[in-house]
Amino acid sequence: MSSDLEKQLERALREPAPSEQSTSRARGAALDAIPEARPPRPRRRRLGLAVIAMATAALAITGVTLAASPAVREAVGIDEHHPPRHDTAPPPDRSPLPEGASGFATVVGDRIWLARPGGGVARLRGTAFELSPNAIYAAAGRPGRLVILDPASLRRVKAHRVDGTVVAVAWAPIGIRIAYIVRHDGRFALHLIEGDLSGDTVVDRDVRPVTPAWRWDSLAVAYVGGNDTVKVQDLEFGRTVAERTPRCAVPSRGPTDLAFAPHGTRLAVAQLFGSTGWIADTSGGRSFCLPLGVARQGPIAAGGGIAWISRTDLMTTPSSTLVRIRVGVRDGRVLQQVETPSGLESIAAAPDRRTIALALNGHRLNVMVVPIPAPDAAKVRLLRILLQTPSPGWSPGSHLLWR
């Protein structure tokens, strides 16, 4: 016999109701998750061939769009095993994008998971991937090509032939210029090209395959030279300046991540060898090492181990720990450090710098959004799971893109 408490529990526990928005979003995502049913096998091969021939003729007659052709699918690199879904009428609030984002992508090796504004996640393949500011366009690397895509439809907008394979792409903040790195005969070269893929120029024929970083005003781009020196190409004055690695960052090999501050001339550098991070003042000031705040320093995650969250503060990931550092003129100081589960591989800050995404690599890759904690707070609160992928295989160069 139920007690009053049990009756009240039964009533109270059945009261709360999900919002229409979350219901609609979940419904869309759940229906999209159902594997497509296999089409029934044709009884006769001859009949199947006839149907294919008729369909091909009909497509040719009606002028099927170029985007549906295998050549373009190859150029774009859409994963044939997981073709992106094209719902005719997706519910408007089914977007998996985090709040404030125009685009979000997780790049793991040659696989790209792209959150689509209309809902769902598209899976693509590419040797490199980048979103333009506000995610109006995407750039994908393919062997022998740099391809510009429309992220919503995944259709190719334009392609540019390159002599080699594009391995890294960085879009300038003002959106009219792209820096990219091409591998050819075992060497890497840095190119600059206009956003419409015109005016391709080689900046440096001996660089490391580290994604270049643009300064906020798009007038300078930082990259790692072939001798592991950090260099800055100043587009305003047309000169290249090599930044001096601070003595504390010795051995001065292996910069793995570059990130310009949201304003000013400071450049954060993460370095795999020596497990350190340092700041270069690219206006000519002195460079200094960052205090990483953990007793036993481990490597900063390669590929997205640094995220600027304000003009003066950055977050980084030594030893799988989230550390917030205030960067001063001559040094930096640790404001906060939060333990995270092992497997923290990458972080990315939201464009509005209110939240960050964490990539946690375990038996799955989990990409989560957490608010940036206040400097005196000891906790990080999980807001959303953006993505979970099986068999992540996180590798150097894998990273998160948040535009």
Binding site: S3, L5, E6, Q8, L9, E10, R11, A12, L13, R14, E15, P16, A17, P18, S19, S22, T23, R25, A26, R27, A29, A30, L31, D32, A33, I34, P35, E36, A37, V338, E339, T340, P341, N366, V370, A378, K379, V380, R381, L382, L383, R384, I385, Q388
Partner: protein
Amino acid sequence: MCHSGRSTLVKMRRSTDAALVRRARDGSREAAGELFARHWPGAWRAALVITGRREMADDVAQDAFERAFAALGRFDESRPFGAWLHRIVVNRALDLLRRERRLVGLDSADEPTGGWRDLAAEDRALLEAVVALSEPRRVVIVLRYGLGYPPAEIGSLLGLPTGTIHSRLARALEDLRELRREGNVERS
């Protein structure tokens, strides 16, 4: 046309979960949508009470559905779909809470954000008390009184002996009575 649509609707209303699963597996979005409509509110409520937060409940319940629907091909039709789904919800919710505790540290677990702000004060206080229970006790309370599973089924769902479920339920109810008494004392 209209008649046909109505008969489809009637047919779906009569369908068992197993029949809907079969049709969803064959590619019927209507059947999958009906399965979703039947089980979403319960799954979401369970996620809400276990996690104590609306945003997390949205994510947990959605994730559970995505996993369940993605694995429909492997689902054993002789077993109830709801129980399978609810087990995924419970596991995902607990998994996320544990992961968050690793993120935030044990002493700084976040406070519930009032996922039941629209409820009557008495019910709200009771749900807040449920959220304050330990995870194992909270889960059995949700499964027993929120989703209506008998103790034996909860045991099978969680992989625990029925006696353990009875004992957790009894202790959870005792905790809740205690919490209510403390609340009354504080209020008076």
